[in-house]
């Protein structure tokens, strides 16, 4: 047998399209199952959390905490863990967080997603410098260009087109008064990996 036929046979054995396809389908099924397990796990955690909050509220009943409530905000972004999973992470002050890979042609989302969770405040004013804010209706897939500023009155996720000099300024408003101001600055490295820092 000629060298060509032998080497062809070697590659055929190892890179056989049908074999690889079967592995891909099995892997897809396996990932689907593990996703379902995760959903169940998160559902159990959520129930436990609600139960814990309920117990907490019951214990605090009658205490006047109204005067002590200070409005807060939490900001979450998505980063890529070492095992290639997209992970939701809270942006903490002065901690640089690598943003998960996002590419217009590939991604199913319209920009870098940032989730805002507000507590005890009326709204947050978001303003982007050197970038654009988008809203995305997951149900209809409709993407809306919001421009450079937005007011968020509930918890929600907005999508951002950014570059290495983008700043996202966030002001917390309660009773028409500004109670805090935060800034998310975006930077990038030579490989076009983007990072976010909350200040």
């Amino acid at each position: 047998m000629s060298n060509k036929k032998i080497i062809q046979k070697v590659f055929d054995e190892e890179l056989n399209g049908e074999k690889i396809k079967q592995q891909i389908l099995l892997e897809y099924e396996r990932k689907g199952k593990s996703k379902m397990n995760k959903i169940i796990k998160y559902a159990v955690i959520s129930v436990c959390l609600v139960f814990t909050i309920f117990i907490g509220i019951s214990f605090n009943k009658g205490k006047d905490i109204e005067g002590n409530v200070i409005g807060t905000m939490k900001v979450y972004a998505y980063t890529m863990s070492e095992d290639e999973k997209v992970k939701k992470m809270e942006l903490k002050d002065n901690i640089k967080l690598g943003l998960a890979s996002y590419n217009l042609a590939m991604s199913s989302v319209p920009g870098y997603p940032i989730e805002f969770e507000i507590n005890g405040i009326d709204l947050i004013k978001i303003e982007i410098i050197n970038g654009t804010i988008f809203d995305w209706n997951r149900e209809t897939g409709e993407v809306k260009n919001i421009g450079s500023s937005y007011q968020l009155t509930n918890n929600g996720t907005l999508y951002f087109h950014v570059n290495e000099s983008t700043h996202i300024k966030i002001k917390g408003i309660k009773d028409k008064e500004e109670i805090f101001e935060k800034d998310i600055s975006i930077s990038s490295d030579d490989d076009f990996n983007y990072y976010a820092v909350l200040k």
Partner: protein
């Protein structure tokens, strides 16, 4: 679970695109060991897209776009070696001009003894050798086209083929001494 309609579309797209995707991944990988993983990532992404969009009608170019992204992503997030130039080592500059043009690459150097052994041998060689073998023997490309595709000289392509075949032959001749 994948529904039948999605599976049919996937089968069709897979069949059409697999040779090109495989060739792209082989030509752009940093390690032969990564090829199957990257190809798998490409088609898992395609399956995800098909599950969301049953009316998916984009063709090969789109799938090649996914392949490009997956190769980049794989090396970025696995912290593996980036694609490096063939000429990253000084020794590679020694283009073996002494290799005559008359080399017969079809001459029978190797025997069909152990396909798995040959595969392991090729995988352990420098990734550029693996690429040259794949393109020459499997993708049926000419030496000239391979030199253009991999951006190396034609004499280097010949050199890799000739030297590796000879080495393989010599190892296989020694029978039990198959420790590459």
């Amino acid at each position: 679970m994948i529904d039948q309609e999605t599976l049919n579309t996937f089968d069709k797209l897979y069949k059409e695109s697999y040779p090109n995707v495989l060739k792209y991944v082989v030509c752009h990988c940093s390690n032969a060991e990564d090829i199957k993983d990257i190809v798998q990532n490409v088609y898992l992404e395609l399956l995800k897209i098909l599950q969301k969009d049953n009316l998916f009608h984009k063709g090969n170019a789109y799938i090649m776009g996914i392949a490009k992204n997956k190769v980049n992503e794989y090396y970025r997030f696995n912290y593996k070696a980036k694609i490096v130039s063939l000429f990253s080592k000084k020794e590679d500059f020694i283009l073996l001009d002494s290799i005559p043009d008359s080399i017969d690459l079809q001459e029978e150097f190797i025997k069909e003894e152990d396909l798995k052994f040959i595969w392991d041998f090729l995988k352990k060689k420098k990734v550029m050798i693996f690429k040259v073998f794949y393109l020459y023997y499997y993708a049926d490309m000419s030496i000239k086209d391979i030199s253009i595709e991999l951006n190396i000289s034609e004499s280097n392509v010949k050199h890799y083929l000739y030297r590796t075949l000879k080495e393989l032959n010599s190892i296989m001749k020694n029978g039990d001494d198959k420790n590459v």
